[in-house]
Symmetry: C2
Subunit: 344 residues, 2 copies
């Protein structure tokens, strides 16, 4: 639909209505707007305007004698054309900075902390997804003998990520063979992305030497080594914030959402998909979400870079969320993450 022909007044009223509703969570009446905002027009005029907005599908009434609440389309219009950039306050910046200050401790720890700080500052759900390892370039692969029959495979990536996979091997494999295998793997695989490795592992290691039993463990492209390594890590925090929201007073709704959050892989691909084309902040409102369970929620998400790969972070909450603030939060956090993880 085209909403370009909205009058100044209609825009103002919609904007006030949404701001007010975001704070109060109650349907907003014409009187409330007339009193709280000095628009210089009477409640009757606002009433008429609201009627127009309703006809355009930007607001709706829960019942005849109630105030109005924004529809998904209303939020969409608000976000697209009425939202003005908001500077993040210093306290919030500081909180994020101190969380994402250095890579010490590893990438996963930072992401875990970041999801927590996002939840804290937004009062919503904070979500972070680890960088996509498929695009990540392997810088070293190391085999460490742990105990009889157990070998630790360490994959170190340029982006600073690391994954360890425990391998159960034939007890007979010794020190020297491991070192030899390690040398071989590095020679053949270092410098490639994990995706490339998975796609061509058979060809690349085909004619090589080394212990054949050990080799076989690495050869299967569906092997645990390559699969587990590529698995995305998801961090979700702030469940307690969401419980408080009046839109989740209904336990069934809350349950639906929680169920969705526990379906990790689905959630990961959902968020990733939003950023397949292009980067920047993406706001997905209510019914725009692909997954039924979160169609009463909005998602504010962004990608960050870690070397030559990217990850996703975001905030999830009811459609009635303070978009301006959340956008600046997510944007700032993504930028800081990129800075630290890309060592820029």
């Amino acid at each position: 639909m085209a909403y370009e022909n909205l009058s100044e007044r209609e825009k103002k009223v919609l904007s006030c209505l949404i701001s007010y509703y975001i704070a109060s969570a109650d349907p907003v009446g014409s009187r409330a707007i007339a009193n709280k905002f000095r628009l210089g027009i009477s409640s009757a005029t606002i009433r008429n305007t609201m009627q127009d907005l309703e006809e355009m599908g930007l607001v709706q009434q829960p019942h005849t004698s109630a105030g109005r609440i924004p529809t998904d389309a209303g939020y969409r219009f608000f976000v697209d054309t009425l939202l003005r950039q908001e500077q993040l306050n210093e306290a919030d910046k500081l909180a994020i900075d101190s969380t994402i200050s250095s890579m010490a401790g590893g990438v996963e720890a930072i992401l875990d902390q970041t999801s927590r700080v996002l939840a804290e500052l937004s009062n919503q759900l904070g979500v972070t997804i680890s960088p996509r390892l498929d695009d990540s370039i392997l810088s070293r692969i190391e085999l460490i003998h742990m105990t009889e029959g157990k070998v630790l495979v360490v994959l170190a990536f340029r982006s600073g990520l690391a994954r360890t996979i425990l391998l159960e091997v034939d007890a007979a494999i010794g020190w020297v063979e491991l070192a030899e295998m390690s040398r071989l793997l590095n020679e053949k695989l270092a410098g490639l992305s994990l995706g490339q490795i998975r796609a061509s592992i058979i060809e690349r290691l085909h004619v090589s030497g080394g212990n054949p039993r050990l080799l076989r463990l690495f050869l299967d492209r569906e092997s645990d080594i390559w699969n587990n390594a590529a698995a995305d890590q998801l961090h979700v925090e702030g469940t307690r914030n969401i419980i408080e929201q009046p839109e989740f007073a209904d336990r069934r709704k809350l349950r639906e959402l929680m169920k969705m959050l526990e379906r990790r892989t689905d959630l990961v691909s959902l968020l990733r998909n939003y950023h397949e084309s292009g980067s920047g902040i993406i706001i997905t409102i209510g019914g725009e979400n692909r997954a039924r369970e979160i169609q009463s929620c909005s998602v504010v998400s962004a990608t960050y870079t870690a070397g030559n790969t990217t990850g996703t972070i975001g905030i999830i909450g009811p459609t009635r969320m303070p978009y301006a603030k959340l956008v600046s939060l997510v944007k700032y956090a993504a930028r800081q993450l990129s800075k630290v993880l890309s060592g820029e």
Copy 2:
């Protein structure tokens, strides 16, 4: 209090009452017991018995004309003397077995999956804590050069656990120095527990050679390396199960609990504490819990062994929980974990 003098009948009635209440979540009346269980006594007799049980503090009435519900003391007595061992059904065994089948993928992945399967099978919260690393014996320490200025420290423990810590070092440190340092660290530290290392790191590395700048990073006993490595990993799953429970219909209660769950370190030490003296299954009922926020919950927990160290797993839910089933679940899961992780 001493409850040994309970008559056979009183025990039976209490047992029936609790079983019934666990299933229904509603106060249980004398008629309900008389009808559902063939005890061969009338509801009036049961009424009298229940009055006695109430005087002893084992059951209570929410209000004058309601049925009875068990008190914490009631559950305690039930669990201590009336609970009979229950065999876990084959389907549940299978579900656990297939989760905890091999160490492939690493210990943390298993623990994550285990918390999930515990939640699933119990319809409560499933909790797992990684093995205590302080007691774990370091089998190898490896330094891997990632990119300029970044070194990955890999700690491999006998128990099959591994931790990686990213170190930011002076860019000038090279290949050879790393290898030398690596050799040094293994020589001095391998075979010691992480706790020992932390306690005596200064003495052990004092007069050693190697690059002094690099060395300094390892010397501080409060260094990120030793601290992060020792940090316990906590996995909590099944929030959605808890939401459904009628005892959490009150949002504030639910919120309190969620808050507690997000205070990870507190939760970890709470659970660990229960198992400080002795192992086996420990059931902690309602007010027996140290943390106020979970005093309307019970915890069924057990320790598992991983090499020469131990970790904790458990189930958390409202005091009205099917203790018999949960005990067998936790017991079985702990045993299987120990089997796989101790390679026994």
